[in-house]
Amino acid sequence: MIEVQNLTKRYGRVTAVDDISFRVERGEILGFLGPNGAGKTTTMRILTGYMPATEGKAFVAGFDVFEQPIDAKRRTGYLPETPPLYPDMTVLEYLAFVAKIKGVPPADQKQRVRAVMERTHVADMANRMCSKLSKGYKQRVGLAQALIHNPDVLILDEPTAGLDPKQINETRMLIKELAGDHTIVLSTHILPEVSQTCQRVVIINKGKVVAVDTPGNLTDRLKGSSTMYIQVDANGSDASAVLNSVAGVTRVVESDRRDSLVGYEVMSESGRDVRRELANTVVTRGWGLVELRPARVSLEEVFIALTDIDEPPAPQAEGEQPNA
């Protein structure tokens, strides 16, 4: 549905997007992940035909966005970072105007406006001025605007930025609902968002693609799935040596301690599930087994690891790195 080939965008001497290539299949939700200033918005603006690329090609729904911009734009819905609302129009007037300029046939306009208002839950604000809407409603009207011509491709630039947790959740649900009918590309710098809504992730940093994969694979790829977290109440004795002696365990690291409760990260030979043996060992010793679970790496860690691997000379420039 979307194909990007060797896309490069330079602003003067600054390279915002550097030789990016990726594909998005029909009905898929692709997450575009990167720190602020990584080139997410620029890539999206190129895809929507807002600005041309310096080099490379981009196709949306089979149309080259540079050669056939009108055809491509007819099939693209775009929600920029700030919803492009006219403050002096009511929601209804605004959506009617957008329907006109997006080329919705006049006979269908009314029905489309009503349909998107239902879909994005803004119908109760139909006669409210856009300038008087709350941030959450503005975002939803922005989404309604992007949907009005029932586009094949939806491009959403940070759709949940600035919303409260409830609104974020609603927006995510809505985006998930929309997938299938629409191919969606959304950008974000918030990692949980990607793992919750997207089927595939493109991580970009400083204009370059660092990784393309499913959120699950990305976390697996970094650490394997063979690290377990175990929390034991060993009545004050040191459990690490005992855990280390379990067959298949390669390393045990103490990760936290609260009174007599001690948590360990247990690494095992890859592909070997040592949970049963671990549980057995702890229980036969008469200790309390409080918690045992696979220690999944968060996308945060994946992200930091990937962007650091890519840029070893200047780790300091990345800003603060949260202590996991």
């Binding site: 915002a16 603006r45 492009p84 006219y86």
Partner: protein, 254 residues
């Protein structure tokens, strides 16, 4: 065409949704009314005197309508920057330009739509003067043909300012910057004839050709000279062309 009208309609609506349309039309009505009364009083006084000295009647078209419409051009010079200042600046500042530029519209459709929207407001402003003309036609017998050509001239004259104003607005995110520079350029095009006499032989002809008001004069006399028509139409076309190019260059620069 539907796209152009959609943009034009939106522009016109946004003028009337904000105070701009009311302020511009209100100011215009007040100033025009003032000029109308002042010139009418003068005309009435002069024609009474003329009636005393001899039997010849004063010409309403020559001595009333012409100076009146020339004053209109001055008012227009002051008011039109307020009409055009927000056309692009506001869209750029609020980010709605992203909506327009990512919609299936060409840059020219957007520019022409905005131009027509501003022209419609200008037309609404000129419509105020119809009232005063109705009074003149009711009480006097002016010739209507020169009045008609004068209106054509006014529309073309305003079109030049609007196309130029659009271009200047497309250069800045700031409405005040756009309005001020538009006003400065308008004024310069106005007074350019003043330097005509001392920039060497032929200079006065050159500046008279460039001056945007000198071309208007013939229209008030009831003359439609193709050279003036061509001047105005090419001015408007060039202004719109520059605007479209400026928007396009903005895309490239990002």
């Amino acid at each position: 065409m539907r796209n152009i009208l959609a943009i034009a309609g939106k522009e016109l609506k946004s003028y009337f949704a904000s105070p701009i349309a009311y302020i511009v039309i209100g100011c215009f009505a007040a100033l025009y009314g003032f000029f109308f009364i002042a010139i009418l009083r003068y005309f009435v006084g002069a024609s009474m005197q003329a009636g005393l000295t001899g039997p010849q009647a004063m010409n309403v078209n020559q001595q009333l309508i012409r100076p009146l419409l020339q004053n209109v051009t001055v008012v227009v010079l002051f008011l039109l920057p307020m009409v055009t200042m927000r056309t692009y600046s506001e869209e750029k500042r609020s980010g709605t330009i992203e909506l327009l530029l990512t919609s299936p519209l060409t840059d020219f459709q957007i520019v022409i739509g905005k131009f027509l929207g501003a022209m419609a407001l200008y037309g609404a402003m000129l419509a105020v003067t119809l009232f005063h003309f109705a009074v003149l036609f009711y009480f006097g017998r002016p010739e209507w043909k020169p009045v008609l050509t004068a209106y054509l001239g006014l529309i073309l004259f305003g079109g030049c300012f609007i196309s130029l104003g659009l271009f200047i607005s497309s250069l800045s995110k700031n409405q005040i910057v756009a309005a001020t520079s538009t006003f400065a350029v308008f004024l310069l095009l106005w007074v350019i004839t003043w330097i005509g006499s001392f920039i060497g032989p032929g200079g006065d002809k050159l500046t008279a050709y460039l001056s945007i008001v000198d071309h208007f004069d013939d229209f008030t006399k009831g003359v439609i000279d193709t050279s003036h028509l061509i001047y105005y139409i090419s001015f408007i076309t060039f202004g719109l062309f520059l605007t479209a190019k400026s928007v396009e260059s903005e895309r490239w620069r990002g």
